[in-house]
Amino acid sequence: MITLIRCDDRLIHGQCIVRVLADFKIEKIVIIDDITASNPVLKSVFLLAVPPQTKAVILTTDEAKTNLREFIENNEHVLLLMRSPMVALELFKSYPELKQELNIGPISYRPDTRKITTYAYLTSEEMDAVNQLIERRVRVYFNQTIDQKIIEWNEVRDLFK
């Protein structure tokens, strides 16, 4: 089963290992990222970063669109991890049975981004994807770790029109 769907452009990193995996009792990480999936160096760096008790696979967006069902239907607690809300939108479109919630964690600053929270910056294209998710009735919220403040996109979206 998919326990958490999360955008985090550092993919597997300290916060993910120290907090997210434990907080959600994650047994398997499914990374959906075209760049990482198609670059052997990046792929091995991120697979190396996975704690030994956790399983991990790295898929392209296209692979995820055709192969995600096995992760939805199995009994393991799965974390779906991707860099961008655009990828999330594609997955929600392909799999309407997914739990209609997207968590946005750290997404780094880029020159054409706007600062949504101290840790998450979005381009206008990414904001469009988030708005489309909202229209599909997917709850989109910003949160780094469960004990920190949650910011609902619905509450702040008017500031970023």
């Binding site: 990193h13 990046l42 101290t118």
Partner: protein, 142 residues
Amino acid sequence: MATTEQNETLGILVCTHSSLADSLKQAIEMLMGPQENFETLGLYEGGDVFSLCEEIKKQVGNMHTKKNLVFTDLFGASPSNAAAMSLVDIDAVIITGVNLPMLAEVLTLRGQQQDLNDLVIDIVNKGKDSIRTITKEMLSKG
């Protein structure tokens, strides 16, 4: 880079979350005095792993050292992952879980002729062995 004279000293870069690397450098210099070919880098909120990787390559390149050690704070975390990615382009070994005793060890030994692999083993052992516990029972009474 090709025309630059290579420095024989072992280059050291400490790369961590936030300002830990800077503070570790300050702390070790308090013990051992000012150090050369010893650089630091921090990952801050909003920072990304690819930019950090580029920074690592730049900092190590600027030292013009033939061999390098990159110390990171947490295995699997972004500073460590960025350092791992940089290995395609720089000549370095990464040691994760940096602590002050490890830095004291490398700064003491790096001037001596020693095989890099042996040095790395020494540093890792020093780091592990330096973790001790002190309890009230260990204090002699009277």
